[in-house]
């Protein structure tokens, strides 16, 4: 009991120090606070540091997880929330929120197979589903060998590793599985955490990658940014067009531009898109902004939009450096139009006028 209380206390202390960090020199600057998804945190942090000098908006972002971000913005304790799993139109209307994407990221499969190098293993969606259903038990299964004739697959048991903590990565990955397989959709289903039919859970990207690294014959999924930085062995996947694609920026951008961004909650289907070169597991990460900020929060709401406007114009390089996918310009124009249309002051005026 003590231990948990301590843990919470440490968390609170860390959060507290994050609030205190902006030093007195920036006291005259506008501060906006946000909380939520941990997936885009590296980019938001770098954007925040750059935007402080560029436009005088000081971002205080706490990556408490998507669920926490949704809770916080519903309670209006922050200026914006951030989530990986987008809300539906009904949920947005109910919470008086608008939603827009800021970045995209990709999910990749990571494997530990002696003798198999980076992006050599070729997997089809059927094989992925059967592996994660626990149906393919050994790596030298004829179906795997059939898809990988040029590789010598070892005779090892297949060990599946998944995220045990609820996460946007799991949301994206399980939605992909549910998309490509009716059996998965009606069986385990899709969500930020699900009832996995097989395998072992680990905490966070680092837990999954560690489980994979320690176990010959293991396969798991992770964010691309994490996999690249840690030089994990990834795989090719056959996309909807029937081509085997590798997880590289080119295929990610192909997926981003194939999506239909005009949907009302700005959260288009980005999974398993038809483009010839599109990576099948690409997901957005989203910001939740109140559409009805009270009078004293109007300025913070405007600054939030100024911050992301700046980030869309100038932050693409930072995002790609960190292996995230910036949004196409056509999308950011739609976002600005939605700001102007949806976010209103208490008297009904538009807050975003640029």
């Amino acid at each position: 009991m003590n231990r948990r209380t301590l843990l919470l206390g440490t968390g609170a202390a860390l959060a507290g120090s994050a609030i205190l960090r902006p030093n007195a020199a920036f006291a005259q600057q506008a501060t906006i606070t946000g909380a939520g998804a941990s997936f885009p945190r590296p980019v938001y942090d770098r954007w925040g540091a750059a935007a402080r000098d560029a436009i005088g908006v000081n971002l205080n972002y706490q990556s408490i997880g998507s669920g926490g971000g949704i809770n916080q913005i519903r309670a209006r304790t922050v200026d914006f929330g951030a989530t990986d799993a987008p809300l539906t139109v009904a949920q947005l209307t109910e919470g008086n929120l608008m939603q827009f994407p800021t970045l995209m990221g990709s999910i990749v499969l990571i494997v530990n197979l002696p003798g198999v190098g980076d992006n050599q293993l070729r997997l089809t969606s059927d094989l992925i589903v059967d592996i994660f259903l626990g149906r393919l038990r050994r790596w030298n299964d004829p179906r795997l060998v059939e898809a990988n004739r040029d590789l010598r697959l070892p005779n090892l048991p297949v060990s599946v590793a998944y995220r045990a903590d609820a996460s946007g990565t799991t949301w994206g990955f399980t939605n992909y599985l549910a998309r490509v397989s009716n059996e998965w959709r009606d069986g385990p289903g899709a969500g930020t955490s699900i009832q996995w039919p097989s395998g072992q859970g680990a905490r966070g990207n680092e837990g999954v990658s560690n489980a994979v690294r320690n176990t010959p014959g293991a396969i798991g999924y992770a964010e691309n940014a994490y996999a690249v930085v840690n030089r994990l062995i990834t795989t090719q996947i056959r996309n909807r067009a029937g081509n085997f694609v590798s997880p590289v920026m080119e295929t990610f951008i192909a997926a981003a531009s194939a999506a239909d961004w005009s949907v009302p909650n700005m959260a288009p289907d980005t999974l398993d898109l038809p483009g010839a070169n599109a990576w099948p597991m690409t997901v957005g990460t989203y910001i939740l902004l109140p559409t009805n900020p009270p009078a004293e929060r109007v300025e913070a709401s405007r600054n939030t939009m100024r911050f992301f406007d700046w980030a869309f114009r100038n932050g693409a390089q930072i995002a790609t450096q960190l292996e995230y996918i910036p949004l196409p310009e056509s999308v950011t124009n739609v976002i600005r139009a939605n700001w102007a249309r949806q976010v209103r002051t208490p008297t009904g005026g538009a807050i975003w006028t640029a």
């Binding site: 948990r4 997880g65 045990a164 609820a166 930020t192 699900i194 996995w196 072992q200 905490r203 320690n214």
Partner: protein
């Protein structure tokens, strides 16, 4: 308030005051006594007044601190229970027996059986691993070890108890998990799985090394110091004359342990084990790292499983406020509280004669 000089005056003043003031013979005599000495030292002729504002304030603060603990405990239970109420209302007693844990939107179904099973089994296994070693340590320290070695080993055992659990988690993940995987599961797996009757307990198709067994192993190391320290303390309390009588009758060391020390300390030893069990039940981080976090009923000791503390730590940050999932997590927390409470109460009861 009580300054330096007051303390010097205390002893002398006390006798005087007790004689002079019958009111001090009430049961709050100690508190009044001390405050009284503190108060009146500077006064003329050593006369002391009782019941001044300072006394009452001090007594109230002390009583308040005591009652605060009770209120805090009560508030914890009530908060957990209120949070858990929607889950209990939805599932009733089936919450405890259902193995389903499905957080997917639209088909939510929550049951605590897997987590409860994992918690109880990993803790009991940990006790099974830890008790023989703890007994060995205690026996060595009280009977066999030369005097100069007793203190260093005793201190080392107590230091083990001070290692933060996250360290055990990291050690478990990077040392114990590969060890179990390579040397036990892959090295011995086939042989122990072939043992008749119990072989199925060891037959697993998960080869990652994170399992119920590994969790129990790490837990065993964590609770070892608690059990060993309690056992040492109670062994030391056996009156030497008993042991000497037995030795005088020609008993060996082992016979003295089995015939005198253990029977004399039996209940306290069990109490110490329960204390360790209580700690094992609530352990979070170290177990989360090594148990595999799978919400499926394990078929073997080498299958991944989960514990209540682990599932709450994993799922709570992403559960929406007011959702059934959050309520189910509260319900699990409440059940863990109940289980821990029962175990710790049992341990206090068994240890009652030693804790006086």
């Amino acid at each position: 308030m009580p300054g330096g000089p007051a303390r010097y005056a205390w002893i002398g003043g006390r006798r005087h005051a007790v004689a002079a003031l019958p009111s001090l013979l009430r049961k709050d005599v100690v508190v009044s006594d001390m405050a009284l000495g503190a108060q009146s030292a500077p006064g003329a002729g050593g006369r002391r007044r009782v019941g001044s504002f300072g006394d009452k304030l001090f007594a109230a603060l002390c009583a308040g601190s005591g009652i605060f603990v009770l209120l805090l405990l009560g508030a914890l239970i009530v908060t957990l229970f209120i949070g858990a109420l929607p889950a209990f209302m939805t599932y009733g007693a089936a919450f405890i027996t259902s193995t389903d844990w499905n957080p997917v939107e639209g088909r939510e179904s929550f049951g605590g059986a897997v987590a409860i099973f994992g918690t109880v089994v990993s803790s009991i296994l940990a006790i099974i691993f830890a008790v023989p070693v703890a007994f060995g340590i205690a026996y060595f320290l009280t009977e066999l070890a030369p005097q100069w070695l007793r203190r260093p080993i005793g201190t080392a055992i107590e230091l083990l108890a001070a290692v933060p659990s996250i360290i055990y988690g990291m050690w478990g993940l990077f040392v114990v998990v590969p060890f179990v995987q390579v040397y036990i599961q892959i090295g011995l797996g086939e042989y122990i799985a072939a043992i008749p009757m119990v072989g199925f307990l060891f037959e697993s198709r998960f080869f990652a090394g994170t399992s119920l067994f590994t969790g129990a192993l790490v837990l065993a190391v964590m609770i070892l110091p608690f059990i060993a320290a309690t056992m040492r303390d109670v062994f030391e309390q056996v009156p030497p004359v008993y042991k000497e009588s037995a030795y005088g009758l020609g008993a060996t060391r082992w016979e003295v342990m089995g015939g005198v020390v253990i029977p004399y300390t039996r209940i306290s030893v069990v109490g110490g084990i329960m204390l360790g069990l209580g700690r094992a039940l609530g352990e979070t981080m170290a177990v989360t790292f090594v148990i595999g976090n799978a919400n499926r009923m394990p078929q073997s000791l080498f299958d991944p499983s989960t514990t209540i503390a682990s599932i709450v730590a994993m799922e709570f940050p992403e559960s929406l406020a007011g959702s059934l999932k959050q309520s189910a997590l509260f319900a699990l927390g409440f059940l863990l509280f109940v289980i821990s409470f029962i175990v710790l109460a049992a341990s206090r009861w068994l240890l009652r004669s030693r804790l006086k």
